[in-house]
């Protein structure tokens, strides 16, 4: 009943230890405090931003109750995806099985919320008690007019990356290409894969695409609606934004639908321009390429001019970078744009390739953080004493205890950092953080030591 993991494209997973990279995405040991997440979380990260569908979690309260509506993915339309829906498996369901409850729930949600489709997430407990989620979804689908799509992602299958991949498989098998409309390719239409519109990131990129005459078929899955996703196969190009976790999806789309793919990033001036040029090149439209070359040049100048004053304020500061996926290397170049040096970088959920790419961009003296636990994080901050920390939200409050300026670049943030506009936002926010007067107060000894009173 589970996605056969051996069928997934694991080509990128060849051992890179020869190349000097740490073991990435290895199994976490019990008790070591690696602070990673599970396959269910990975699947929901990819699928839950789909706006006009219902996301029903077939599990006990821990899976949905602690986590619903907690990511900053934004929607320009339906808010249905923000509903926390769960079968809330109780003791009796564990004993007698939860299939009936699941089916009733699906039917009720279809009536009450009128979704375009229902995604049903299996969890550890529902899998252990042997509920056949696939079968129930099929049965419910027969009684309804909408797709009911099982996502077999119990947490024990592994970490987030595996969940991402499973979600990619689900999209490929059950969503993409299932629409009723035409299958014809739309020229100059692209999919942005791995862009989840966190804090409205996608909206920072759209104006640039529009200005160039590129249409967005759909993001996978930021601000995406179900119908656009179903027609994702009509795009002429796939642009893979976030790391490698959806590589299996783009490879399969290339084989089945003949859609080529490229990788890119919309964080940092250099990467945005490079990505736009790569898109234009891959779309094989000479006019577009010419337009793009002119456009990125103007935009780069404009943006650099705007952020120049921030650069003056931030230049030569020392940062520790602690993030995951594509953000590892794209953040290195974003920080470099502002004249910030990276003392050390850590990666969670990054692939060896992401890592190698980051390594190439960083100063050779920069350290790689291998211990991704809180303890490892604290140790490196104590050793390297950075001027600022750039990381995901879960280390935010830990960083504050070290009295070091901190910027959240993951899903907890409120402001978009993608695109040229996002770069300006990023520079502005980072400056505000680093130059905030509160750090001085936090570091001042009180009461002052003898002889320091007159200072």
């Amino acid at each position: 009943m589970f996605t056969n993991l051996t069928k997934l494209d694991l080509k990128d997973k060849k051992c890179m230890s020869d190349a000097g990279s740490p073991k990435l995405c290895m199994k976490a040991l019990p008790g070591e405090g690696a602070e990673r997440s599970c396959a269910y979380d990975g699947a929901r990260v990819v699928l839950m931003p789909i706006t006009d569908v219902a996301h029903l979690v077939h599990g006990p309260i821990a899976c949905a109750g602690n986590s619903w509506d907690n990511r900053g993915a934004r929607s320009s339309g339906s808010q249905l995806f923000r509903r926390g829906l769960t079968t809330d498996i109780m003791e009796n369901d564990v004993i007698y099985g939860g299939e009936k409850k699941l089916k009733e729930s699906i039917l009720e949600i279809a009536t009450r919320h009128d979704p375009k489709a229902i995604f049903v997430y299996a969890t550890c407990v529902s899998s252990l008690i042997g509920d056949d989620v696939d079968k129930i979804c099929q049965e419910a689908e027969k009684e309804l007019t909408i797709p009911v799509i099982p996502v077999n992602c119990p947490g024990f299958l592994g970490d987030k990356n595996i969940g991402n991949r499973i979600a990619g498989e689900v999209l490929f098998d059950r969503v993409i290409g299932t629409g009723e409309g035409s299958d014809e390719k739309i020229p100059l239409a692209i999919n942005l894969i791995g862009e989840y519109n966190i804090a409205g990131d996608l909206w920072g990129v759209l104006p640039d695409l529009e200005n160039l005459g590129i249409t967005l078929q759909t993001a996978i899955t930021g601000d995406a609606n179900f119908d656009d996703l179903r027609s994702a196969h009509r795009a002429s190009l796939n642009v893979l934004i976030c790391s490698k976790s959806l590589t299996n999806l783009v490879r399969k789309m290339e084989i089945r639908y003949g859609i080529p793919f490229i990788e890119g990033s919309f964080y940092g001036i250099h990467d945005i321009s490079e990505t736009l040029i790569k898109i234009a090149t891959a779309l094989e439209d000479p006019d577009l390429l010419e337009r793009t070359l002119v456009y990125v040049k103007t935009k780069e100048e404009e943006t650099r001019k705007t952020i120049a004053r921030y650069r003056t304020l931030l230049e030569n500061r020392q940062a520790i970078l602690f993030t995951g996926g594509v953000k590892t290397w794209s953040m290195v170049s974003t920080l470099a744009e502002l004249g910030i040096n990276i003392l050390a970088g850590g990666t969670q959920n990054s692939t060896p390739e992401d890592f190698q790419r980051m390594k190439a961009l960083m100063d050779p003296s920069a350290q790689i953080i291998e211990d991704t636990s809180s303890a490892g994080f604290l140790k490196i901050i104590a050793e390297r004493k950075p001027d600022l920390i750039v990381a995901g939200g879960k280390t935010k409050y830990l960083a504050h205890k070290t009295r070091t300026p901190f910027l959240d670049i993951n899903h907890g943030r409120k402001l978009p950092y993608a695109g040229y506009q996002g770069m300006i936002q990023f520079a502005e926010t980072l400056t505000r953080t680093v130059l905030s007067p509160v750090w001085g107060h936090l570091r001042r000894e009180f009461p002052p030591k003898e002889g320091e009173q007159d200072d």
Partner: protein, 473 residues
């Protein structure tokens, strides 16, 4: 639509948090403790995020990181390994383990795993390990917190060595606190504790006779914020008592800029405070869910125990203050009388606005009862009262029936109210209905300072009424 909700099979916009989250919260109030969740990595990851966005604090919570193989072969070895690695790597004073839906479903026997580990690793023989059964599919945050406080007390308090099977569940958990500490284990560990007056003697505090101050045990429920617990201790100290608070969130999750962040809990109840529990003059527990914890102490050591389901409101605070006066043999301190007088004046000044309130409230039971009964006491009308789980709904009464419900139900039923009281997730309902929303409970992530709020005692009740009135104006 309401017809349908009565027979609804799913939870829509749940207000429940998982029991393991409640367990984490209880463990976070114990100094030097390392919390270890026996489950897959997502279980702990979601709890960390949820508590972190509520308290704006780092949440130290470790995991046994179960994978598919442990699901097939059992998580026994993972649990042993987890305790071992955590003990070796982080050197905690205490390890607090909680189970999850995953491990309870296949029935991992935590007690025997621990016993087996102690045989293999004699050096860990004396490491206090608390085991709490928190299957995700039984109850909510409040129940998880409750079970964990009970496990903490029965494992760590004084000479409590007898095997107590407190709350076996039907799915394989054989009870908590069994065989986890021997009489000398706590004494041996006191050496490594941070307190200056710790003594290697296993006997309870040797300086009991030199200390004229009467100790009193306080057991706050999870409906009290770190600010509330602080207020509680202050009131008790007004009567000359020295409180031992279990667990004590007021010095761990109070949001202070501690000097060193660490992967184990800093602040909170000291291990030697647990040892000193038997000396307490009295035990006061707060929130109905904490009643059983108080009874455990009463039964084990003959300490008189009183439970206060609520501390928010005039009458309940009066009762609390009079109880303290009686136990201490002292008159009610001037400071509290002054606070009471101010509260009375506030009630008079705002009686009309308070009387006009129509309240829709959805919270975990103890907090629901505390806030709702306070509002009823001052003349407000309750429109709907939804508890997160079953526990206690038949033992406590409000003018309207208390039902178990989620926030989708709140959305369907709160239309006639003038104020919604719910956690931050109630924002969807409040937004759709365009009704003001006072944040309470957990999580509260979109308002500043909730964990520091004091809504108990005379002054706290006054503050709660002000916050309520300011939400609707």
């Amino acid at each position: 639509m309401t017809e349908m909700t009565k027979t609804r099979h799913y939870q829509g916009n749940p207000q429940k948090n998982s029991p393991a989250l409640g367990a984490t919260l209880a463990y976070l109030g114990v100094n030097g403790l390392l919390a270890l969740l026996h489950g897959s990595q997502g279980c702990s990851s979601f709890i960390r995020l949820q508590l972190s966005r509520h308290y704006k604090e780092p949440i130290p919570l470790n995991s046994t990181a179960l994978l598919e193989d442990s699901v097939i072969f059992g998580g026994w070895e993972h649990l042993k390994k987890g305790i071992e690695v955590a003990a070796d790597k982080y050197k905690p004073q205490i390890i607090g383990v909680m189970s999850s839906g995953l491990t309870e479903t296949y029935g991992d026997d935590m007690v025997s795993a621990l016993a087996s580990l102690r045989l293999e690793r004699p050096d860990l023989k004396d490491m206090p390990v608390v085991l709490a059964c928190t299957a995700d599919y039984i109850g909510s945050m409040q129940e998880g917190y409750q079970r964990t406080v009970e496990a903490l007390i029965s494992t760590l308090a004084g000479h409590c060595t007898k095997t107590t099977v407190l709350h076996g569940t039907s799915t394989g958990c054989t009870g908590t606190g069994t065989g986890t500490s021997t009489s000398n284990s706590i004494g041996a560990n006191a050496n490594s504790s941070s307190s200056s007056n710790s003594n290697s003697s296993p006997s309870p505090s040797p300086n009991v006779n030199e200390d004229p101050v009467l100790s009193i045990a306080l057991i706050p429920g999870c409906h009290l914020t770190p600010g509330d617990v602080d207020e509680l201790k202050e009131i008790v100290m007004e009567f000359g008592f020295k409180p031992i608070t279990i667990p004590d969130l007021s010095i761990s999750l109070d949001g202070h800029a501690e000097l060193e962040a660490a992967p184990v809990v800093q602040g909170g109840t000291l291990l030697e405070d647990f040892q000193r529990l038997p000396e307490c003059t009295a035990c006061l527990s707060f929130g109905l869910s904490m009643e059983k914890s108080g009874e455990i102490l009463q039964q084990a050591y003959g300490i008189p125990h009183v439970n206060f389901p609520s501390l928010t409101g005039l009458t309940v605070t009066d009762e609390f203050v009079l109880t303290l006066a009686k136990i201490s043999g002292k008159a009610v301190p001037e400071k509290l009388l002054r606070q009471r007088s101010r509260l009375l004046d506030t009630l008079a000044d705002y009686h009309d606005q308070l009387g006009g309130l129509k309240i829709a409230i959805a919270l975990e039971m103890d907090l629901l009862y505390s806030l709702a009964s306070c509002l009823v006491e001052v003349g407000a009308e309750l429109i709907v009262a939804l508890a997160a789980s079953q526990a206690g709904i038949h033992k406590l009464s409000l003018p309207i029936p208390i039902e178990v419900g989620d926030l989708e139900m709140l959305e369907e039923r709160a239309g006639q109210s003038t104020l919604i009281i719910a956690n931050s997730n109630g924002r969807q309902a409040a937004g759709l209905l365009k009704i003001p929303h006072l944040r309470a409970g957990l999580p509260v992530f979109d308002r500043a300072g909730y964990p520091q709020k004091r809504w108990i005692g005379y002054e706290g009740t006054q503050q709660f009424l002000f916050d309520t009135l300011n939400s609707v104006s």
